[in-house]
């Protein structure tokens, strides 16, 4: 059994630690707040010989992902990290990494996109990468960020998947807060992730292959995309299988949709990332007062767990979705759109209200969560649902 060590550490420190334990052959990265300490600490570990990774310093995130793609196609285990504008600058490479079926693992420190310039947390950056074809995890805590990074390595490299995986953690809130985290010994993690043996590799000169070729009219482009769809569907099972195996090692169970208080709940909030903690805290208080509230936390954003989410929300009287990103001109934020779509096949129509919150690091005060739960109680009691999306906590109802 693994040795477990309890640390006082930031999310970024334990992500760098998890990456070191996965022993990537190559890391190509460019620093950006609030991801910086991941690559800084990783570079220090390379310099001290604590991990044997080819660390490639590049001049931009565009180059970082390009170098990762080249290295991964060459047959290496590859990891990187970014945030916000950096992720946005990688946008075209994100699609290429997925289309070339390269199992790159990348951490993202979730941060707002300009303008106005803002370095704080929201999920706008990730949502811009939503359709790039990456399996995507969200972490509530530094602990989850550590666990997700290790699981991501196995999911990405699984023969039924072979897709890049992004593990996200909330900028500053999770990346920079010192939290209590349990980490495992190196051998247990290395044993769990195993050695990456690529099926094809550009550096395998005995078995030459072509990567990223042109596919014009009549070529296999369309079928390549269908294969990506199949791989992403396959990831549903692989994510769960890997999590089950990891739980035996770590002692920490994992569900793609994690529920709290849902046994007899009448209403629930659906949320991703660190705000799940604030929400559970409020739900705990309200339950103690006899209110029947629940929490549904989405831990894997792609592939989206629509079946599990619909099952968790079955029979509720009202649902609130907390979106930390916009989809301007849509009926609500990205998580709202997924949630309502997941509920389309439900036997009975459930009112779903969207709340946009916490953009640009706006503080997620407990009273804001209380307000959302209060709205749900009103709807459950027969009141009308507020017209969404509601800008939760915005200073004026503009």
């Amino acid at each position: 059994m693994p040795e477990h060590k309890t640390l006082a550490a930031t999310g970024n420190t334990v992500v760098a630690e998890a990456m070191r334990q996965c022993k990537p052959d190559v890391m190509a990265a460019y620093p950006i707040t609030p991801q910086t300490t991941i690559v800084e600490e990783y570079a220090a570990m390379v310099a001290k010989g604590r991990v044997h990774t080819e660390y490639v310093t590049v001049e931009s995130e565009h180059s970082a992902m390009s170098a990762c793609i080249g290295a991964s196609a060459a047959g290496a285990r590859v990891m990187t990290a970014t945030s916000s504008q950096g992720l946005a600058l990688m946008w075209e490479e994100l699609h290429i990494a997925a289309g070339m079926r390269l199992p790159i693992v990348m951490a993202n420190a979730n941060r707002a996109l300009s303008a106005p310039i803002n370095i704080h947390c929201d999920h706008s950056d990730i949502m811009g990468a939503r359709d790039a074809g990456w399996v995507t995890y969200f972490a509530e805590t530094a602990q989850e960020a550590y666990d997700n990074t290790i699981m991501a390595c196995r999911v990405a490299e699984h023969p039924d998947v072979m897709l890049p995986v992004m593990t996200t953690l909330d900028g500053f809130i999770t990346t920079h807060s010192i939290d209590r985290v349990s980490v495992m010994d190196d051998e247990s993690v290395s044993g769990f992730v195993g050695q990456y043996v690529p099926k094809t590799a550009l550096l395998d000169l005995e078995n030459p292959v072509m990567h990223g070729a042109f596919s014009g009219l009549g070529g296999p482009y369309f079928e390549f995309k269908k294969q990506q769809r199949i791989a992403m569907e396959n990831a549903r099972k692989v994510v769960k299988d890997v999590a089950e195996e990891y739980a035996k090692l770590s002692g920490r169970p994992f569900d793609v949709v994690e529920t709290w208080g849902m046994e007899d709940a009448e209403t629930a909030i659906v949320v991703m990332g660190s705000t799940a903690g604030n929400t559970r805290h409020v739900a705990r208080d309200l339950r103690a007062k006899g209110e029947r509230m629940g929490l549904v936390k989405i831990r894997v954003w792609r592939p989206f767990p629509h079946v599990e989410l619909a099952a968790a929300l079955k029979g509720l009287k009202a649902v609130a979705v907390l979106d930390r990103a916009e989809s301007f001109g849509a009926e609500g934020g990205p998580l709202f759109l997924e949630t309502r779509s997941a509920l389309y096949d439900a036997a009975e129509r459930i009112p779903v209200v969207d709340y946009i919150y916490g953009l640009g690091g706006s503080d997620v005060k407990l009273e804001l969560i209380e307000r959302a739960y209060k709205d749900l109680s009103d709807i459950a009691a027969g009141g009308a649902a507020p017209a969404g999306p509601v800008y939760l906590g915005a200073r004026e109802e503009a």
Binding site: A8, P34, I173, H176, I178, R180, G277, N278, D363, L366
Partner: protein
């Protein structure tokens, strides 16, 4: 101790508030408690007013918002009393510890704070200059904090301090830091 204790640190960047917030959290972890420590994030400029936060709890901490109703406020620089409302949101039976030569009654008169809350003062900068030979008041301030609140264990704090210092310094520096903690513990006065 109550289930959750929330500490807000006010300082000027460079005085070691973030480090102190962290070391107090680490001391709590050593006693198998749950904890969080975080700076108020923003651009870092030496001398600018900053805030840092520590949460300590017997049960896992789930909340990730800023601390608006601290149980304890630690002020590392008394020039901040003029420009920052350090008592903002302090709980009724809370405590404010200030690094200053001014007596606590006078500091109290300058703050708008709950009647039941306590104000404590210690010349942590003076103590730091005497012992550590540098005006780094964070370590003695933790000594005063422990005296007033018992939020973490003194021996555990001192042993962690020694462990951290021993990475860069010898026993002389450890002794100087210990002395600063002990003196602040003895010299802090309350109103």
């Amino acid at each position: 101790m109550q289930q959750l204790t929330e500490i807000r640190w006010h300082a000027r960047a460079g005085q070691g508030a973030v480090t102190a917030a962290k070391v107090v959290a680490e001391t709590a972890l050593a006693a198998d408690q749950y904890m969080q420590a975080m700076p108020e994030y923003g651009p870092e400029r030496m001398g600018a007013p900053i805030k840092a936060f520590t949460r300590i709890s017997k049960v896992p901490i789930e909340i990730h918002c800023n601390i608006e109703n601290p149980d304890i406020v630690v002020v590392l620089d008394d020039s901040l009393l003029e420009i920052v409302n350090v008592a903002d949101g302090l709980v009724d039976d809370g405590v404010i510890v200030v690094n200053t030569c001014t007596p606590p009654a006078e500091v109290r008169a300058r703050l708008s704070m709950p009647a039941n809350a306590r104000v404590a003062c210690v010349d942590a900068s003076g103590i730091a200059l005497d012992t550590i030979k540098r005006d780094i008041p964070n370590t003695p301030m933790v000594g005063a904090l422990i005296k007033l609140t018992g939020v973490v264990d003194m021996e555990a704090f001192k042993s962690l301090l020694a462990k951290n210092l021993s990475k860069k310094f010898g026993q002389e520096m450890i002794d100087a830091n210990w002395a600063s903690v002990d003196r602040a513990f003895e010299e802090v006065t309350v109103a």
